[in-house]
Amino acid sequence: ASFRSKKMPATETKPFLKTGVTCVAFNANKSLIAICPNSSKVFIYETNGSLNSSKWEKEPKYTLEEHTETVVGMDWCPSTNLLVTCAHDRNAYVWKHVSEKKVVKAGNVSYEKEDKWEPDLVILRINRAATQVKWSPSGAKFAVTSGSKVVPICYYVEAHKWWTCNVIKKHKSTVLDVAWCPNSKFVVTGSTDYKCRIISAFKEELDSSDDDGFGAIFPDQHKFGEVLAEFDNAKAWVQSVAWSSSMYRIAFTGHGSTVHLVQLCADGPPAVTTIRASGLPYVSVEFLSNKAVVAAGYDQNPHLYSASDAHGAEPTWKFEGNVDKEVKKTQKKLGAFGGARAMFEAKSSRSEEKSVSNKKNTTHQNLICGIVPLENGQMITYGLDGILAHWNIEKQGFDSKNLLADS
């Protein structure tokens, strides 16, 4: 047992799980949250309507056990309420919530109440681990990235009642992350071959053939698997990618502590702004609005980047600040005996000479694995320390009115 101050810091900094949290997904109305604690199981908890993890139920409502290896990607479709998970066991499952079961007894058909999640195996045809999975905004398809250098785009075939896929190749190495364009036709992928690519995932039966203004930028936009644009600015693994809701801005991060912001232009090649960060690399990046991008990773502190305008063709991006202001936590004053005890504890458990610990003042005490963007400049970050922290950029001192504005 460690010597702990009786006055706990803000409730949000208390870890929700004892293990790290590697994947998180909310359902449509945020009443349930699916969490993977870096294992092969997925747990769904009730949030009781709150975004503050201390108000959530401690025991999971559902446990989803089907994967045999660590689950690495999870996404919950708000329109169909289907949850898709992918894992290192080279499989992906689409989970459907079953609320009633048909019972046939002696010729009589009745319905029994049920409340569980049933998995449906997806034929991925990959021979390496999966790394990430994302539903398209339309909910009709999902993309799975894998170590097999391919990205299967999966869809449901009603006739056979199974999920099958068309595979995007074109990558020279493991694909780490994927994000969909809001029109559900394109994906942007980040790979360990140092490149970020925009690839068409157009499927004739599932997508509209409208131009959306991309006809001028990408002449091959309706050719499945065609690489529409390629960016090699990262010069390192591209660990995370994101697509803004405005359709014309993309963000990707490189393992060299860089973040790259792409503006797709109607009358020329895409323009990339490269920002060199002064800290450790980011593993997750998300758009909070067209003008605000938040990136988080090994620095344990989400960083906010902002653009000069929301829809312009030549935005200037800059580092806006740390979201976590690293407020120094109050330390209880120790008397002589308490001081000696703390010093002995520090020496025996951490082999430190001083009794004051070098614990960082950030809310997160370990790698931030991901960011869940919410509306109005809010977001939830989760990490290997088991903490799910809720942030509001307005409360953290940023000019949210400007950053979230549509101009």
Binding site: A277, G279, P281
Partner: protein, 111 residues
């Protein structure tokens, strides 16, 4: 041109010119020669902090790459006593650019 500047004692000027256009050749010999020149210039510059102040982010990345290369080249010379100059470069670069510059130096293969 760099050699001339160095011989005249203007290590800072030589270095500035050298890192302006970082070498992107695949030929190992060319890279080795470039590295030797740059590291010589870096070892000669007296005030690393001032030089770094005047460098932009891209140049800092290049400098960090050659700091590591320099530590490698001068490892056996004079029992590694010259390495202290490169440690100073390292310290000053991190002071200005943070840990990110080390990441970029490790990750970019083209040195």
């Amino acid at each position: 041109a760099c050699k001339q500047s160095m011989q005249s004692g203007d290590y800072a000027g030589a270095l500035r010119k050298a890192i302006e256009n970082p070498i992107s050749s695949k030929d190992q010999k060319v890279k080795d020669l470039a590295a030797k020149n740059i590291c010589e210039a870096m070892a000669g510059v007296s005030n690393a902090a001032k030089f770094i102040e005047e460098s932009d982010d891209a140049e800092c990345d290049t400098l960090m790459k050659y700091t590591f290369k320099g530590m490698d080249i001068y490892r056996d010379v004079n029992k590694g006593k010259n390495c202290s100059k490169f440690l100073k470069w390292h310290e000053e670069l991190v002071k200005k650019c943070g840990l990110g510059v080390i990441m970029r130096a490790m990750v970019d293969k083209k040195c």
